[in-house]
């Protein structure tokens, strides 16, 4: 049992309205439009899976806190919405009709291994939701790449609530070809069959217009680039996230995509397709900007965002997985401590960026007295602190 820390009464004696609970809640609100749209597109099964994933995240959080002997923090930690947010983000990135155990396993992995093994909130190296998603994708590739067709909740073929529970719990997927590939997956398969990128993308199913609005197969919450951008702008307006990561990430993908499209439009998709498809927008606004796992300084955040964008583009284009954002973010998470070490802001009054030697304040350096050792320095009483204005 840790000793109870009592906060000292220290200045400043004022505070702005920000607190962790509020920030996490705002992120949840920002996710809401895209999530509701996901429920509409993929029907009741996606809602059931979302509930399961979020609930298991909360339950795992509670269990981990109890195991770690932090029962006293139980209510505080569960009510700060951070566990809910992890579960929510994971659900957003899962195939909408994935079986229930994918959600449970993913959430448990995210919270227990991705977060609490590192020391709980604020100490994790990797974004828990993305760590869980990559673990699931590697471990269960079939379930994680079975994408339901868009089947709006009010359409005739859409399963009802009871059917949906069957789909999620017993995996009774109606056998009438209700699954298909995502836009990125479709592109990759078609390209490998020697088709022309321009032709593939001119088909209605994977046109930039449909991916932008989001009426295409894909993870539950990542299809609508437009609604996700609204959420992202909301977070930017509230200054919960800064623009450095999302903009540098999106810009980097756009630049790389334009570059390669100019080189060979037959083999490389145009930038708008890259920007609007897959988890890029979700990743740029909600995942790469994860406060805990991204760098602290402006320069660091720009580098981090650009790295995420570049890796996402590279893995999408030449890697084995068409859905690359999770990998890109997790890899850049691993680099974050290094970026933080080297990308410190310049300190006021210092000419260059600080290095290990130059930081120490001259007046605090222990040898500041030894200079005056000879001569009169010896007569000085060392017990009297010199006056320093």
């Amino acid at each position: 049992m840790q000793p109870v820390m009592i906060d000292p009464i220290a200045s400043p004696h004022a505070h702005d309205r920000f607190n962790v609970d509020w920030m996490m809640r705002q992120v949840c609100y920002a996710l809401l439009p895209a999530t509701l749209f996901g429920f509409y597109l993929f029907g009741w099964p996606s809602l059931v899976l979302w509930v399961i994933t979020c609930l298991s995240a909360l339950i795992t959080e509670a269990i981990c806190l109890i195991i770690r002997g932090k029962k006293s923090q139980l209510i505080a930690r569960l009510s700060d919405s951070s566990a809910l947010l992890t579960g929510w983000l994971l659900a957003m990135s899962l195939p909408p009709w994935a079986p229930w155990w994918i959600g449970v396993l993913g959430s448990a992995f995210a919270i227990a291994i991705g977060k609490h093994l590192y020391g709980g909130i604020g100490h994790n190296l990797f974004n828990p939701a993305m760590l869980a998603r990559t673990a699931l994708l590697i471990s269960f590739p079939v379930q994680m790449t079975t994408w339901a067709h868009v089947l709006p909740i009010n359409s005739a073929q859409a399963p009802g609530l009871i059917d949906s529970i069957g789909i999620i719990f017993n995996h009774q997927v109606p056998a009438d070809g209700s699954t298909g590939a995502t836009a990125l997956g479709h592109l990759k398969t078609a390209l490998s069959q020697g088709l022309n990128a321009t032709e593939i993308l001119s088909s209605d199913r994977v046109s930039p217009a449909s991916t932008l609005w989001g009426a295409s197969s894909g993870s539950m919450g990542e299809t609508s680039a437009l609604l996700l951008s609204f959420g992202g702008i909301w977070l930017l307006a509230l200054r919960i996230i800064r623009w450095y990561i999302p903009i540098s990430m999106l810009l980097c993908v756009a630049i790389l995509a334009s570059l390669f499209e100019t080189i060979d439009p037959q083999r490389y998709a145009p930038p708008l397709f890259h920007l609007s498809s897959g988890g890029l927008v979700l990743g740029a606004f909600f995942i790469a900007t994860d406060l805990v796992t991204s760098p602290s300084s402006r320069l660091g955040q720009l580098i981090f965002g650009a790295g995420c964008g570049a890796l996402a583009f590279i893995i999408r284009t030449w890697g084995g997985y068409p859905e690359a954002v999770a990998f890109a973010v997790v890899i850049m998470n691993a680099v974050t401590p290094l970026i933080d070490l080297y990308c410190r802001p310049r300190i006021y009054g210092h000419r260059r960026k600080i290095s290990r030697q130059s930081t120490a304040h001259p007046s605090l350096q222990p040898n500041s007295v030894s200079e005056g050792k000879s001569g009169q320095g010896k007569e000085k009483n060392p017990l009297v602190k010199p006056e320093r204005p």
Partner: protein, 526 residues
């Protein structure tokens, strides 16, 4: 507009809720004469003043009660006429109510000033006097930095004489609630400008500027108008952003230059004084009365009628609160100064001192005391830090007692402004960690110096021993040489004795004797 250079230059700062409207539109009130005044001997940075009065002494208004002790110190004067009733440990503004040495003066109600002050001084006379003499008079008047730093003004003036190109008056007053400087600039603009000109005259600076935040339009208008009649002094409007009142930030905003780390503002040719200090300098040099009163903002949600009030130094805080209508309910926190960097005070029995710019009785909804939670590395503190530091990294190192690590991240450059803790969503008491780490570091450097001193002592002892041994050896050698010489002399003498005639025997004997005496004397000295 975003500029690429911003990526690499610290900016930071926060925009706290200002709460200034409650006091900014009321003129400065004047406090009534309190029955007893409590005068701490240490109201300034540096050594405490030494009392020169005894219990029972009758003193007049403006009479020195304690003189400055040492190079960095300031005298304390009687704010009114009366009798010294005690020289003992008294209540001072302190977070946990520790006592400190001070003088208690019982007012006789006459408020009779000392007679030997020359009130008839005109500005023309002042600018004829040698600067050193003016600085001396400022020192004798007990004037210290009234913005809160309470550094003796004369010391600052003397240190920067002939080194500065610009006098910068600090009228930014970025702390929430406080409006004392704002009202001073509106009501005492001429004295402030005159003070600036005197400071410029004393330091030899060719020009002066007054930095005022853009949220004080009335003050800017009044000050600009007064400045118009002088060509070498101007008003610089700076954006309102905490901590604009910090010397380093205001200098950067006005001049575009940064004070080098570990250096002083005079290193880049600037001397900064608060507007209240400038007024005190002008009034004291012209009117002759030393620093015995100041304007205090009495505010906060628990104060019924918040306002600015000019009070005698030593007035108990309770008296001031009473004159502002008293407290409407129990305050959650009592502060001296502003809410961002102000000092917690234990009780209202403590007096107003030279550095009390504000007296705040904050209600609980103004304090927002939320318990802290773990850091989520949101880096809001990094964006808020006006010094370009990474407070989260420094705090995490200070927390685990990794002082070198904290220093490596620039702890020494921290100005303790509290911007980071103000924005921290986890409500981590960052400033507390920094204060702790700074304290530990200065303790450590003290230890280090002790160690060096001891090492010095033992080294010099060793050297002394070596030196003495060398002297001994030299003397031994000399002695041996002398012995040898003596022996030779004896030998010679014997030879001579043997060879020479009897008549020369006496002479040789006396030579031997003198040698022996010298030898003995030498042995004594060892």
């Amino acid at each position: 507009m975003f500029k690429l250079s911003q990526l690499f230059s610290p900016r930071g700062g926060v925009h706290p809720e200002l709460h200034k409207q409650h006091t900014a539109e009321k003129p400065i009130a004047y406090a009534s004469l309190p029955p007893q005044l409590y005068l701490p001997l240490r109201q300034h940075a540096g050594a405490a003043a030494e009392p020169i009065v005894k219990i029972g002494d009758k003193v007049l208004k403006g009479q020195p009660l304690a003189l400055s002790a040492g190079n960095v110190s300031a005298p304390v004067h009687a704010p009114t006429s009366g009798v010294i009733v005690a020289i003992e440990n008294i209540q001072v503004p302190h977070p946990i109510g520790l006592l400190a040495p001070g003088i208690i003066l019982e007012s006789d109600g006459d408020d009779k000033p000392v007679t030997n002050i020359d009130t008839g001084k005109t500005n023309g006379d002042l600018f004829q006097e040698p600067p050193e003499q003016l600085a001396k008079r400022i020192a004798d008047a007990g004037i210290v930095g009234m913005g809160g730093a309470v550094f003796p003004s004369a010391v600052k003036l003397n240190k920067s004489r002939q080194k500065v190109e610009r006098v910068l008056l600090n009228g930014s007053e970025c702390e929430p609630y406080l409006t004392a400087d704002d009202l001073l600039m509106r009501e005492w603009a001429e004295d402030i400008i005159n003070g600036a000109r005197l400071i410029a005259y004393i330091t030899g600076a060719p020009r002066s500027s007054i930095g005022i935040e853009d949220n004080k339009p009335e003050a800017i208008a009044v000050m600009t108008k007064v400045c118009e009649s002088f060509s070498d002094i101007d008003v610089v409007v700076v954006p309102a952003r905490y901590p604009m009142g910090s010397a380093k930030q205001l200098i950067h905003a006005v001049t575009g230059r940064e004070v080098p780390s570990g250096g002083r503002s005079s290193d880049i040719g600037v001397i900064m004084h608060n507007v209240a200090t400038a007024r005190a300098i002008s009034q004291s040099l012209r009117g002759g009365l030393p620093l015995i009163s100041r304007v205090v903002t009495v505010a906060g949600g628990a104060v019924k009628n918040p306002q600015n009030i000019e009070a005698l130094i030593g007035t108990p805080m309770r008296d001031l609160i009473e004159q502002c209508g008293g407290l409407s309910h129990d305050p959650a926190r009592l502060l001296m100064g502003g809410p961002m960097m102000g000092q917690l005070i234990h009780s209202l029995n403590a007096p107003i001192t030279k550095g009390s710019s504000g007296l705040l009785a904050l209600a609980s909804d103004e304090v927002n005391a939320t318990p802290s939670s773990p850091c989520i590395r949101c880096a809001r503190c990094v964006s808020a830090c006006p010094m370009g530091l990474m407070p989260l990294e420094i705090a995490s190192r200070a927390k685990s007692d990794d002082l070198d690590g904290a220093q490596d991240y620039g702890l020494a450059d921290c100005i303790l402004c509290g911007s980071c803790a103000y924005v921290c969503p986890s409500h981590i008491p960052l400033v507390h960690y920094f204060q702790y780490a700074k304290g530990e570091l200065s303790l450590r450097s003290l230890e280090q110096r002790k160690l060096e001193y001891t090492r010095d002592l033992s080294a010099s002892k060793e050297q002394r021993l070596i030196r003495e041994a060398a002297i001994k050896a030299a003397e031994k050698a000399a002695k041996a040489a002398a012995k040898k010489a003596k022996a030779e002399a004896n030998k010679k003498a014997r030879e001579a004795k043997a060879a020479a005639a009897n008549a020369r025997e006496n002479q040789a004997g006396s030579e031997v004797q003198s040698n022996t005496i010298a030898d003995a004397a030498e042995t004594e000295t060892l």
